[in-house]
Amino acid sequence: MSVLRRTLDVQAPLALRLALALGLLTLLLVLSFVVTMAFGAVDVPLGVTASIVAQRLGLPIGAAASDVHWSVISHVRLPRALTAALVGAALALAGATMQGVFRNPLADPGIIGVSAGGALGAVIAIHFGLRSLHYLATPALAFLGALGAVMLVYLLAAARGVDPLMTMILAGVAVQAFIGAVISAALTLTADVNAMREIVFWLTGSLGARSWTHVQLILPFIVIGSLLLLCFGRDLNLMALGEDTARSMGVDVRRVRLIMLTLAALITAVAVAVSGIIGFVGLVVPHMVRLVVGPDHRLVLPTSLLTGAVLLTWADFGSRLLLRPQELRVGLITAFFGAPFFLYLLYRQRRAGTIL
């Protein structure tokens, strides 16, 4: 443990701390994958689960599995777990980015209206019955809604020049309130009870019945968006010293901000499109991560990404197993555990004397 502490210590070289943190988290993610996939309506032995995953990913190791086990893991649980990991990674990385760019510990991916816009898109798809035309109509409209809301917030913020960051937060609040009203109206006007249920469900996020199509849809966006975001860790550090100081050290602050917010909005929009609204991951994970690795964004961004993946994998596991055979919404799980945990973090940090 003391070796671990010393390596993660701020004085140690960055590359070493990064390698250790990422190595541990990757190991944890792989283990979480196998363990969470083994349990469910049908329990599959851990070894069999691991070999099916390996074979599915093209590594010919382990014994052949029975057809039932193969199809449960390969067609149901693996795509679902991958979706959970991708969504968790995207939300946590977007949260860490937002907190860094806005220099505000309470920022999360929803702050600039992404989630609300996604919700509006989904509600439109459900309300007008578009989902019966194509099963991807809801995610597609959710994605468009999320991007549309972000663009609206941008335009509002760009129109007023003084403090674009504060304007964006306020515009985000306004857009969210407006969209909330529209959704309430849609709920009131919907006569179809099933559609109503579906809207309410969508608003609390779920990863149920996610297929390989979903994985293929979101994988390229989230991987590329995340990799690009990870390039800006040092800029984010410098921006923590204030815009003038950062610019005087050669950072093009406005451009970096625009690029980072766009990428964060993009990966959030993609995540929201397939999962609905899953709260608290983007808010809580960066705080957890900073407690361990410190404030350096070159560490915070990649470790948030992996921690988010691990966390949502387990949250989804909880949603499947807590009330088995009934399934809870994963958004309920993250809020139920995330909110008290966030309060605990606040309490701890207050006592330590720093906010972050």
């Binding site: 505000n104 510990p105 003038d244 950072v251 900073r290 004397g353 972050l356």
Partner: protein, 294 residues
């Protein structure tokens, strides 16, 4: 053992600004301001609130692009250089650096290496040595592992100065480096800056306190409504006439043998304005009521 990394600082650079103007909408914040500073010299920018001191400093560091005029560093036009290139030679210590994340002082100081690093390059042994040296020069080594948000204002300002020095600049721009500091820390920070200038660095500082400016600056530029009202040696610039014209106060300037520098004593605000400079102030209310006591 390899040789210790080379952490020497290069000599100061000469900066010259010619007829710099800057406007926001109809407000002409700077009009045809010219000035120059050389290595080994500290130029003080003085003037009342809103005279354009901070705007000028931002134009000199290229945070703002002047509407007209040129800023040259060692003869090279800054407008033709990338922000990164400029940052390798000019460091800026802005007035209010807000700190939101719990970085340690060493981390903050190391950030000064940014202009010298590639995008994916981490700080190496030489960068760390330079950061350590900057901490030593500002007397803040003991804070290296401390979180910067926990320091007092005076300590924090010295660490932020160390951050600027880690850029290994040839010109240092300081915006009211002692704002909000108590007397002891004011002298400490200016003593540090003076020491750096003595070693050859060029520096320009916005100074609010006229007596600090008189004591520590080699030359002064007095700004008034966006224009350079007076430039030159401390004695040339700090005259009762200039102070009356620009600050609208009645003041005396005397040589202080203890400091070896001029000392400004502000007696009273002038009501009438510019022309009445030197006249008897109406309602002679001396600030603090004890102006002539030192």
């Amino acid at each position: 053992m390899s040789a210790p990394p080379d952490t020497r600082r290069s000599a100061g650079a000469a900066l010259s600004a010619e007829d710099v103007s800057y406007a926001v909408g109809l407000a002409r914040l700077l009009e045809d301001v010219s000035l120059e500073v050389r290595g080994g010299s500290l130029l003080g920018l003085i003037g009342p609130n809103g005279a354009g001191k901070t705007t000028l400093l931002k134009c000199l560091s290229r945070l703002l692009a002047p509407d007209a005029g040129q800023v040259r560093l060692d003869g090279r036009d800054l407008s033709r250089q990338s922000p990164q290139e400029i940052a390798r030679r000019i460091a800026l210590l802005p007035q209010s650096a807000t700190l939101d994340f719990a970085f340690t002082c060493l981390e903050v100081v190391l950030m000064g290496r940014n202009p010298h690093l590639g995008r994916f390059q981490a700080e190496g042994a030489r960068d760390r040595a330079i950061a350590r040296q900057s901490l030593a020069e500002t007397g803040t080594e003991e804070f290296a592992a401390r979180v910067i948000t926990e320091l007092s204002a005076g300590e924090r300002q010295r660490v932020l100065l160390a951050r600027a020095l880690t850029q290994q600049p040839r010109l240092l721009l300081l915006d009211e480096p002692t704002a909000g500091l108590d007397v002891q820390h004011q002298l400490q920070v200016f003593g540090l800056i003076r020491g750096l200038v003595r070693q050859g660095l060029a520096a320009i500082a916005v100074v609010h306190d006229l007596n600090l400016a008189a004591r520590y600056c080699d030359r002064l530029a007095l700004l008034h409504r966006g224009k350079a009202h007076a430039r030159g040696t401390v004695a040339d610039v700090l005259t009762p006439e200039n102070l009356a014209h620009v600050f609208n106060v009645e003041a005396t300037v005397a040589h202080d043998p203890a400091l070896g520098a001029p000392r400004v004593t502000v007696l009273a605000p002038l009501d009438g304005g510019v022309e009445s400079g030197g006249g008897t102030p109406a309602g002679a209310e001396t600030p603090g009521g004890q102006a002539p006591d030192r």
